[in-house]
Symmetry: C2
Subunit: 157 residues, 2 copies
C-alpha cells in the first residue's frame, strides 16, 4: 500500500513537472479556447456566415493563403463569403493543441483542416493543411479570434 502511494505521488509529481515544462499555462482557459475553436468550426462547417464572423474580434485579422490579410469585420466577412460561395464547399478543422497564458486573457489553438469544393468543371478539389489561431478573452468572458492563419500541407502546383 505504501509503495503504491509513493508510486502515485511520484507519478503525480512527474505529471506536474511535465505539465509545467511543456505548458506552464492556464488549463481552464486552454479548455475554453478549445471549446471556442470547436464552436467556430461548427459555424464554418455549416457555412453560417454571420455566426462564423461573430467569432472574430471587430479588429481581428484572418490571414488566408494566396490572398492579402483580412482585418476587421467587413473584410473577414467578405473573405468567408468567398469560401462559402464555392460549389459543394466543405470546411472542417480539429484543434491538435490549445494553450493559454497564466493570466487567462490570451491563448492560441493549433490544428489541422480539410477544405474541399468543386471547381468550374465540377471536379472536386481537396486541400488539407494546418492553422494557428490566437484568441483573446473578451470582457463578457467569451473568447474571440484576434488572428487566424492557415496554409496547405500539399505541394505547390
Amino acid at each position: 500500500m505504501r509503495v503504491k502511494c509513493i508510486r502515485g505521488i511520484v507519478l503525480v509529481a512527474l505529471l506536474v513537472v511535465a505539465g509545467v515544462g511543456a505548458y506552464a499555462q492556464n488549463s481552464k482557459a486552454a479548455d475554453a479556447i478549445r471549446a471556442a475553436d470547436q464552436q467556430w468550426e461548427k459555424a464554418a462547417a455549416a457555412s453560417d456566415l454571420a455566426k462564423t464572423v461573430s467569432f472574430c474580434q471587430p479588429d481581428g485579422s484572418v490571414l488566408p493563403p494566396n490572398a492579402p490579410i483580412a482585418t476587421g469585420t467587413a473584410a473577414i466577412r467578405q473573405m468567408f463569403a468567398g469560401y462559402f460561395a464555392l460549389p459543394k464547399v466543405s470546411i472542417s478543422w480539429t484543434a491538435v493543441t490549445a494553450e493559454a497564458a497564466k493570466s487567462g486573457d490570451l491563448g492560441y489553438s493549433r490544428g489541422t483542416y480539410r477544405f474541399s469544393f468543386n471547381d468550374a468543371s465540377g471536379k472536386p478539389v481537396v486541400d488539407t493543411g494546418k492553422y494557428v489561431t490566437v484568441w483573446h478573452k473578451q470582457a463578457d468572458g467569451s473568447w474571440k479570434v484576434v488572428a487566424d492563419i492557415f496554409n496547405s500541407d500539399l505541394p505547390a502546383k
Copy 2:
C-alpha cells in the same frame, strides 16, 4: 500652461483607454516579443542555421506552406536548412504587431515577409506574405517560438 497640462492629461487618458481597448495586455512583454522577433529575423536573414533554430522551443513547431508541420528541433533545422540552401536566397520579415498576455508568459507577433531565391534556371522567384508567431517566455527570461506559421499574399499559380 494649465491648458497644455490638461491637453496632455486628456491625451494620455485617451491613449490608455485606446490601449486597454485594443490590447489589454503586457506592453513590456510585448516589446520583448517584438525584440525577439527582430533578432530571429536577423539570424534567418543571415542564413545562420544554428542561431535561427535556437529561437525555437525544443518542442516548438514551424508550419510552412505546401509542406507538413515541422515539430521539434531536428525537423525545424531540416526545414530551415532547405530554405537556406536555395541559390541567392533572401529572407526578411517585419512585425506589424506584438502582444503579450497580462501574465507576460505568452504572446504573439504578426507581420509581413519577403522571400526570394533563384530557381533552377537562375530566374529570380519573389514571394511576399504574412506570418503569425506564438512566443513563450522561458525560465531564463528569454522568449522562444512555440508555433510559427506563414503564407503567401500572391495568387496560387
